[in-house]
């Protein structure tokens, strides 16, 4: 059974918002590292939408329209004007942006390669796939390029300073890209887990990852609760399936820059 098959049935339950507790955390940890399963989740949610549309019934009463529009009028807002940011130098981030771009490009190449090996596909399905890929790239790049992104550097809390991680967190989109290098190799069946430490509340799992042979690793857009204000980010070593609460000690930690 492949890793994806192992999660197939649980993904359907997740799409129905029917998973809770450890099962939910396990699926979310997998989704954080598996683009194929994220796409399958989107498909399954689309399937649930079809089911929802089978509901038929009377139209809502007229008072519901007035109630809504009155509430909207009370919350009327002034259009937001785009601001030009001048307070932050971007030059220091170019290196990381280049690294991130290479990660994005590598992901794209990998997906293209997989697509080629899958043989012939219809033109329409290729167009749809390309659109998804472009959208995926846009989503991945957003937290790196957006001026409102909160950037956090994580360094080792121990004497050896070599391991380093960079977290790019865009709170208003709940988007996070994390890049690490010089990470020590792990014992068998162990993995690093990234944690978002909110201003209030318990640490939130933000992706499980294992470094490659060079000690490099990345976490791209893990599933996170919406608009959580991050006080810091941290890394622990956990079982490779991930944990719902960090196991001490915290190996790396960093607050916003």
């Amino acid at each position: 059974m492949s890793e994806h098959e192992q999660f197939a049935d649980d993904l359907a339950l997740y799409a129905l918002d029917a998973l809770r507790g450890e099962d939910r955390a396990r699926v979310e940890a997998h989704l954080a590292t598996c683009a194929a399963c994220r796409l399958e989740l989107e498909q399954l949610r689309g399937d649930t939408a079809l089911l929802a549309l089978s509901a038929a019934g009377p139209r809502p009463p007229q008072r519901a329209r007035k109630r809504l529009l009155d509430a909207v009028a009370r919350e009327a807002r002034v259009p937001r004007v785009a601001q030009t940011s001048t307070h932050r130098s971007w030059w220091g981030w170019l290196g990381w942006a280049a690294t991130a771009a290479s990660v994005v490009f590598a992901l794209w190449l990998w997906r293209e390669n997989s697509a080629l090996h899958q043989g012939l596909a219809s033109l329409s399905s290729r167009q749809a796939e390309s659109r998804r890929e472009l959208e995926e790239l846009r989503r991945i790049a957003a937290p790196i390029l957006d001026p409102e992104t909160q950037r956090v550097t994580l360094v080792s809390t121990r004497a050896a300073p070599q391991p380093q991680g960079k977290a790019f967190y865009l709170r208003n989109r709940s988007s996070l890209v994390f890049l690490a290098n010089n990470m020590p190799a792990l014992p068998p069946r162990k993995a690093y887990e990234l944690w978002l430490i909110p201003v209030n509340g318990a640490p939130i799992p933000a992706g499980v990852f294992k470094p490659d042979a060079h000690g490099s690793a990345s976490v791209v857009n893990p599933l996170l609760p919406a608009a959580v204000e991050a006080k810091a980010f941290a890394i622990t070593v956990e079982n490779e399936t991930g944990a719902t609460a960090p196991t001490m000690p915290i190996l790396m930690m960093g607050a916003g820059e």
Binding site: A12, A18, T48, G57, P60, R65, R67, V72
Partner: protein, 182 residues
């Protein structure tokens, strides 16, 4: 008589863009376009007109407050609203705190469901697929979807193994997808 307003996904996108700039008229148009879908889903789950109106209000206010949560590249607004509504209605039914934020609900739907005629045809097709589904599978899917029962609760109720219930729910969803791929 046909509506003179433009239909389709591009019209939805223009209206959602209007929301981002605070256009209350765009909100009214979106309500007129999708309130029947949202209300029908909420009423089907909750079975109570007052509670369904509350969910209707909550869903559209969420869209007003955060129109950027809808990702137009991935599916139609009607489908997205239907999923959001169903999840909120189930949360209300089960008296539980929402666990999934609307930003996290990204979905992909192949058919264009922006117009009422398209939605009516899709609903007919869904009812057809459900009609020929094995009764145990249809029942498991409906209990999970419309009653918000967990697979454990369904297994307890039906006496079926947990794994069987899980597989039936997924297979039911896949059967729906396949019906729209042909």
């Amino acid at each position: 008589m046909l509506s003179p307003q433009p239909q389709g996904i591009s019209a939805d996108l223009a209206l959602v863009t209007g929301l981002k700039s605070g256009d209350q008229g765009a909100m009214a148009q979106l309500y007129d376009r999708y309130s029947s879908v949202v209300y029908a889903v909420a009423l089907r789950v909750l079975g109570d007109t007052g509670a369904a109106e509350d969910v209707l209000q909550e869903v559209f206010l969420q869209l007003w407050r955060k129109p950027s949560a809808f990702d137009a590249a991935r599916g139609s607004l009607g489908s997205w609203l239907a999923v959001i509504t169903r999840n909120r209605a189930i949360d209300s039914l089960r008296k539980r705190r929402p666990e999934t934020d609307i930003d996290d609900v990204v979905l992909s739907v192949a058919p264009d469901l922006a117009g009422e005629a398209e939605r009516a045809r899709a609903a007919e097709k869904v009812r057809g697929v459900m009609g020929i589904m094995a009764p145990a599978q249809r029942s498991a899917l409906e209990m999970a979807y419309w009653e918000g029962m967990s697979h454990s609760e369904i297994a307890d109720k039906t006496g079926e193994p947990l794994g069987t219930v899980k597989t039936r729910i997924r297979a039911g969803l896949i059967a729906l997808r396949k019906a729209f791929q042909t």
